[in-house]
């Protein structure tokens, strides 16, 4: 990347219980390992499960101050509500990653959109939908390069309980593979 | 019981040159309780510097200023919470709370029951005079139903708390009740409560002739003391009394004395466990 200044604003959105805040923390930890400047912010309702939930991660190689993502370079939407609410603030050259297990309508044109049933895939391949967040994180990182994959792997390992490291590494690999095999609809 | 001359007590344990005369009204029982506490502590040979007396707000809560211990006159209802802080940080200190019926069971009811539940090693000496004296005679959670207070001019319709039952229900491990008339018994109960490892309560029924007594035509201080003598029956006698004779009587005696893990001990064990895991 050289000396060029980069700053990526990423919003991970969906509902409580989908692991978005954990995903945000892991992404931010990976950025720290990359020696980038990072803020991770979160917003959620009073409920820890079920209500709207989002995590913002801003990653830059320069100093920055305002910690809330306002114009997203990357938006991950795991629910229809989140997609509807936040896709308007996606940058023109931004990337939308949507879980079409839940997101059925996307009213954006000209945007780079990736749609996959991440939750269904997690359930089918890993027997549980819990690692959906890590699958999407793997997908997001391979498609966007916001952090290095080595740092991401390390961050995942450092962030989950020892007994879940293998499961989550598998989830990461599934995410990478999905990104590599993704065929864009036109 | 060993009798101790007055003189030694007041020069040794009171701030006798600095803070007297005290604020209490003529005929008030608080002085009797103060004497009983001093004598109990003298029997235990407790070091003054290692002893703390904490109070809240009210007539009885003025007591700490008169005693030569580590003393804290805190906020209304909060004495037990302040005392919990002292005891938690310095478990080696002897910490007692002097409080009243309103202070401990109305505004401070929450702290009272939770300290009992934790079984933290505090001794609560609760002087129950059935009234808010400091503010001039409003009804408290122990003012008998039907009685007159300045805020129950037509008679009190509130049911009353039985403070000892409340403490036992919440988990206190030493609970005793007596009256200011039974001063030696009070001294003995206080001594046992202070020695007890865990949350202990001594409720002392007391006379407030100037306010409660006057409002309810209970007579002067002597008449009120005589009423205590008559109405407070010992546990043994209580069990023999037929039900129809129990009305208006007060049960006095040690109502509970048992051992349960004490809070600061348990915390010390927890610290040991956490540090041992390294």
């Amino acid at each position: 990347m050289g000396k060029r200044i980069f700053k990526k604003e990423i919003r991970l959105s969906g509902s409580g219980g989908q692991g978005l805040i954990t995903a945000g923390i892991i992404l931010a930890r990976a950025a720290v390992l990359d020696k980038a400047n990072v803020t991770q912010m979160q917003s959620y309702g009073p409920e820890s499960r079920g209500g709207a939930s989002r995590a913002d991660v801003i990653i830059s190689n320069a100093e920055f101050y305002y910690p809330e993502a306002t114009r997203f370079d990357v938006l991950l939407a795991l629910t229809q509500e989140a997609c509807d609410k936040y896709s308007v603030n996606l940058k023109d050259d931004g990337i939308l990653i949507a879980d079409n297990t839940f997101v059925k309508n996307i009213s954006l044109l000209d945007t780079e959109i990736y749609e996959l049933p991440f939750t269904d895939i997690a359930h089918k391949k890993l027997g549980t939908k819990l690692p959906t967040n890590i699958i999407t994180l793997g997908f997001l990182v391979r498609k966007t390069d916001v952090v290095s994959e080595a740092s991401l792997k390390k961050a995942v390992t450092n962030s989950v309980k020892p007994q879940y490291v293998d499961l989550n590494n598998k989830a990461l690999k599934i995410g990478y593979k999905l990104a590599d095999e993704y065929i864009k609809k036109d | 019981m060993q009798k101790i001359p007055q003189k030694i007590i007041h020069t040794r344990y009171l701030r006798h040159r600095k803070k007297f005369p005290h604020v209490w009204c003529p005929g008030c029982s608080n002085g009797i309780v103060l004497g009983a506490i001093m004598r109990a502590i003298d029997e235990l040979k407790w070091k003054r510097s290692n002893t703390a007396m904490v109070s809240g707000i009210g007539c009885s809560s003025r007591m700490p200023v008169y005693v030569d211990f580590n003393t804290l006159h805190s906020l209304h209802g909060r004495a037990i919470a302040y005392a919990t802080g002292i005891k938690m940080f310095k478990p080696e200190m002897n910490v007692m709370v002097v409080t009243g019926d309103g202070d401990a069971t109305a505004i401070g009811g929450n702290h009272f029951i939770h300290a009992a539940r934790r079984n933290i090693d505090l001794t609560v000496i609760l002087i129950n005079n059935y009234i808010y004296g400091m503010t001039g005679g409003q009804y408290s959670p122990t003012t008998p139903t039907g009685d007159i207070a300045t805020t129950t001019p037509y008679g009190n319709i509130d049911p009353v708390f039985d403070i000892c039952e409340l403490a036992m229900g919440a988990g206190a491990t030493f609970v005793a009740r007596t009256t200011a008339y039974h001063a030696l018994e009070a001294q003995s109960f206080i001594k046992q409560a202070l020695e007890h490892k865990g949350f202990s309560l001594v409720e002392i029924i007391s006379a407030c002739p100037v306010i409660y007594g006057k409002l309810n035509k209970k007579g002067d201080a002597i008449a009120m003391m005589n009423a205590m003598k008559k109405n407070a029956v010992s546990l043994k006698a209580w069990e023999k009394l037929p039900e129809d004779k129990l009305k208006g009587k007060i049960k006095r005696g040690i109502l509970r004395n048992e051992i349960r893990p004490e809070y600061t001990d348990e915390y010390a064990k927890l610290v040991q466990k956490v540090q041992g895991g390294k």
């Binding site: - | 003054r48 805190s74 919990t84």
Partner: protein, 390 residues
């Protein structure tokens, strides 16, 4: 604030965690608290960390009990802290007044959320600023610190503990909900280099000791329970020994000390950050999370050639009157973005009173930018307002 020269020790840390770690590093060895969003993580971390160090943690039955317990423990010699948020902070006011009145060191963290009442438990607000100054009944000055980053949360937590010990009073650490829950890369300083202040202990024999001995600096030694100094503490007006008094002369001495011990040490207490203020023609005055938006707005404005600067208080009380007058004297307009209905605005107006001659220089304005709906003020909000006001 994020740093470019990140070392290997750098960690991703949440604001609430930084507060807990800062306080513990400053020597806090007693924490009593009650769960409340968005401050709960501070209690959780203390419950993990304090027993490891032989410190004490207790979850009390409510916030009133929590402030009471930390004051009791402080009198017994502990360095103490509690943490809460809006509703709990309201419940603690009587205890905070007691700590100030009895000159007992303690730290109260208030992670602000939307109010009044239960309000918006998970949304940011800056509407407790006045409560931290005037929340307890009676006259008593306040020391209140207000960070704008995770690292600064750590640093000001240490400073809060230090100031509480030094000035024998309750120090409040204000935090924005967003900051409490935000994570940033933080390089923690070498602990050996961190300055820790402990309360001054009396050296005279107990019989000579006065718990509230007056002296020209208004700061006096503090004995602890259980050390042989059998002193009395009361929330009543008291004399030098701590015994209750009704005498006007003794009360006056006490009240003057509470006031002067803050006012005589403004140089030590007041901390501000001047961000591009030296040549500023337009100024922003903002604290906490709103200052983060303001910094971005300053950089955006500078890029388009406008001389905009930010003055930010790290100590919000005592209010930095002198700094405001010094830095704002020659600016044209002052913008005050805040997540409330004008709590800082009115203070800035008060501080500037008499400095600007409003009659002859009508063009000068102090302009509010306010939100109280749970949303943050964005850099764009500030830029747009600046464009509006010519």
């Amino acid at each position: 604030m994020t740093k470019n020269n990140i070392e290997s020790k750098v960690v991703l840390m949440q604001g609430n965690e930084a507060v807990a770690r800062g306080a513990i590093d400053a020597g806090v060895n007693f924490f009593a608290g009650y769960p409340i969003t968005p401050s709960t993580e501070i209690a959780e971390i203390c419950s993990v960390e304090l027993p490891k160090r032989g410190g004490k943690f207790i979850q009390m039955e409510d916030e009133i009990a929590s402030i009471s317990a930390i004051i009791g423990a402080s009198l017994a010699g502990a360095k103490t802290m509690t943490a809460t948020s809006g509703p709990g902070f309201s419940l603690m006011q009587e205890g905070i007044g007691f700590a100030k009145m009895t000159e007992t060191p303690c730290v109260v963290v208030n992670v602000m959320r939307g109010g009044p009442s239960t309000g918006l438990p998970t949304k940011p607000s800056q509407a407790d600023i006045m409560q931290t100054r005037w929340g307890n009944h009676g006259d008593a000055p306040a020391i209140v610190l207000y960070p704008d980053s995770v690292l600064e949360s750590y640093e000001l937590a240490i400073r809060a503990v230090n100031l509480s010990e030094k000035y024998r009073t309750c120090v409040v650490l204000l935090l924005d909900e967003v900051l409490g829950h935000m994570r940033e890369a933080v390089t923690l300083p070498d602990l050996a280099k961190v300055k820790i202040i402990n309360r001054i202990k009396p050296t005279i024999p107990p019989e000579w000791y006065k718990h509230y001995e007056d002296n020209p600096k208004y700061i006096h030694p503090l004995a602890s329970y259980g050390e042989g100094y059998r002193f009395h503490v009361t929330g009543l007006a008291h004399d030098a020994y701590g015994f209750p008094t009704n005498r006007a002369d003794e009360t006056a001495v006490m009240m003057e000390r509470l006031d002067k011990k803050i006012k005589h040490h403004l140089n030590d207490l007041v901390q501000i950050e001047s961000f591009y203020m030296d040549d500023a023609r337009t100024a922003i005055f903002a604290a906490g999370i709103s200052a983060r938006a303001a910094k971005t707005a300053v950089l955006m404005a500078r890029k388009s050639g406008k001389k905009v600067g930010l003055l930010r208080p790290l100590t919000i009380w005592p209010f930095p009157d002198d700094a405001i007058r010094k830095y704002m004297k020659n600016v044209r307009n002052i913008f005050v973005p805040e997540l409330n209905q004008g709590q800082l605005l009115n203070e800035v107006k008060r501080a500037m009173g008499g400095v600007w001659n409003y009659e002859s220089r009508r063009s000068r304005k102090i302009i509010p930018i306010q939100k109280n709906d749970g949303q943050l003020i964005t850099p764009a909000d500030i830029i747009n307002k600046m464009k509006e006001v010519k």
